[in-house]
């Protein structure tokens, strides 16, 4: 037996890799996103020489905290086969209303739950339209987006400054952790906690598994007796709550609320989720992948500002990346269909 051990170890790796890939086939898009992230990191480090510093890496989490939160909620919705275009506008509206309540002296312990509840209401409204009135998710969330954007301007046409210490604390506190100048802010911790919670809920709870079942085939899920209606409603509510939380995080980040905040953020979020390997047809994808997608987005934005190039290049590169990923996803799906 020992005589065949050595060659088996060599062949063993190949077969292990093959077996690994076969078992983890749904994780391949996530690995691709990780590989992409590494490539961007290495390329940026080689080009700038001072890219991979603790300051830049820490800022990545800090600057995109709201996007992580939004991407988690969006992943839930996209996994059911839906889409939520309202997240950016809901984030702006909850931020505006929260800021105006804070300005009027309402305690922040009350304002933050109100903001989350407001987000949940928007999510619920979209869910009800989609589920009970057969409105396409695209149109229902579009209406919510218009409504939230208009309401944000009703609160105030100008930006509202936030001077409440506990909200600003979320952003200004720098918790120095690892050696070498890494730091994390409470907003970053919130973002990471949301990612972890989202991943755990999707992986281990009945609700999470039902979401995958619905995305795979809604008809089958219904025939299996799964609570399709409740789960889909809840997925939109999750996205709405995430949008409300993103409103809190973004308000803390900018120290003010502006009704035009988050214009086009829904597209950035969808792009990040797709780059992270979630199929838009639903049923396949991971919150962790969406997190990687946001990292890719943030890194590209940082690299472009390092170059001093125009920020319009961010959207162009994200568009191109989206194109590459969608085409590759399409090829993967086409191949598995042929089998």
């Amino acid at each position: 037996m020992t005589s065949i051990q050595a060659p088996a170890a060599k062949a063993g790796f190949a077969s292990f890799a093959r077996r690994f890939i076969r078992r983890r086939v749904s994780w391949i898009p996530v690995f691709a996103a990780v590989a992409l992230l590494v490539v961007i990191f290495v390329a940026a480090q080689a080009y700038f020489g001072n890219f991979l510093t603790p300051r830049v890496i820490s800022a990545l989490l800090l600057d995109n905290a709201y996007l992580f939160v939004l991407a988690v909620g969006m992943t839930f919705v996209i996994l059911t086969g839906g889409i939520d275009l309202s997240v950016g506008a809901v984030m702006a509206f909850t931020g505006m209303l929260g800021a105006s309540l804070l300005r009027d002296g309402v305690p922040s312990g009350l304002v933050v739950p109100i903001m989350l509840l407001l987000g949940a209401t928007f999510g619920l409204a979209i869910g009800v339209l989609v589920q009970y009135f057969d409105v396409q998710p695209f149109i229902a969330s579009l209406a919510a987006m218009f409504a939230a954007r208009g309401l944000a301007f009703i609160v105030s046409l100008d930006s509202i400054k936030v001077e409440v210490p506990e909200i600003l604390w979320l952003q200004s506190t720098r918790i120095q952790g690892a050696p070498g100048g890494f730091y994390i802010t409470p907003t970053g911790i919130i973002a990471l906690l949301v990612v972890i919670a989202g991943a755990l809920v999707l992986a281990f709870t009945r609700f999470g598994r039902t979401i995958y079942a619905i995305g795979g085939s809604e008809q089958s899920a219904r025939l299996m007796g799964l609570p399709v209606v409740r789960t889909k409603l809840l997925a939109y509510v999750v996205s709405g709550v995430c949008a409300g939380l993103a409103g809190v995080v973004f308000t803390a980040y900018t120290g003010a609320s502006y009704p035009l905040n988050g214009l086009g953020t829904e597209l950035d979020t969808i792009a990040a989720v797709v780059i992270g390997g979630t199929l838009l047809t639903g049923g396949s994808g991971y919150v962790v992948g969406s997190m990687i997608g946001v990292f890719v987005y943030g890194t590209i934005r940082t690299a472009i500002s390092f170059m001093g190039a125009d920020q319009s290049w961010t959207r162009i590169s994200i568009g191109l990346l989206l194109l590459v990923f969608v085409v590759v996803q399409r090829l993967i799906v086409a191949r598995s269909e042929r089998r």
């Binding site: 396409q136 208009g150 301007f153 009703i154 046409l157 009704p259 838009l280 162009i316 085409v327």
Partner: protein
Amino acid sequence: MKKVLTHRLVLPIAALIALVAVNTIARPSFVSVTVQNGQLYGPLIDILRNSAPLMLVSLGMMVVIATRGIDLSVGAIMAVSGAVALTIIDGSPTPDDLGTVLAAIGVAVLIGLLLGAWNGMLVALVGVQPIIATLVLMLAGRGVALLITGGFITTINSAPYKFMAQGYVIGLPFAFFVSVAAIVIVALVERRTALGMLTEAVGINPEASRLAGVRARGIIWGAYAASGLLAGLAGILYSSNTMAADSNAAGLYIELYAILAVVLGGTSLMGGKFTIAGTVIGVFTIETLRSTILFLGVPSAVAPLFLAIAVVIVVLIQSPRVRGIVTRVAQGMRGGTKAEVAR
């Protein structure tokens, strides 16, 4: 009478008439048309003029939606086409020359066509979902437009170009004639040839139409190319109205307004049957709504809220559940004598 009431254009037309009526009561000047130097002026004329870009985009959107698709990139294509046209005119030594302007418009519209063909290729050949395929260009397009103008808002002085949106022909705005021409051409191509029927066939059941020998690929490709072409032309009208290539503002949200106009007109987002007359009415409804909101003195930033309310009302009216309830109530009122449901 019953046939008239159940016609699918009844609701859109009723909505438009109601909107105009409310406007007329609120401000009698709404329907007044004054003549100055042989040119007509008035709120209604403004609606005819301002609706032209949305009309062009909505016609393209309608054809794309009929194939079960959606085109999110029209606003970005408008920005690119406006940027291209104004950059060409800005760079030419003779901006007032008709030839220069026509060449610029030709190039810009051609680029719109190419961008539309690119969308069509992704959808028809590669098989990407329409929302995502056009999202790529929606994200990247505005960036490209900004690069073309070098990040600035290019402004020009060119009489022929200005004529596109602001000129008058026999008393009516030239832009109105452009949209009428577009409606007529689309109607002729779709309804006087088999193309319209084939497009609907592709939208109703792609697989069955393929088995029946319909070249679904070419039809889908053509639909996106047409949408790109019309969006390119709309970009010209938009930039001609302001005489500036503002890549951030040009056609912002127009994809959403266009989808709304098409849906308001009674074309289902599920693809298949489409109605040109309905789309035209939908466009005028939205434009009237916008004019109303402006008149009410609501800040234009709040306007989306009213559109959201309009969208919700329309989709609720179209939803099977609400229709079922209405039918049941109507039957109940008739004493439940009629068993069959008039659909």
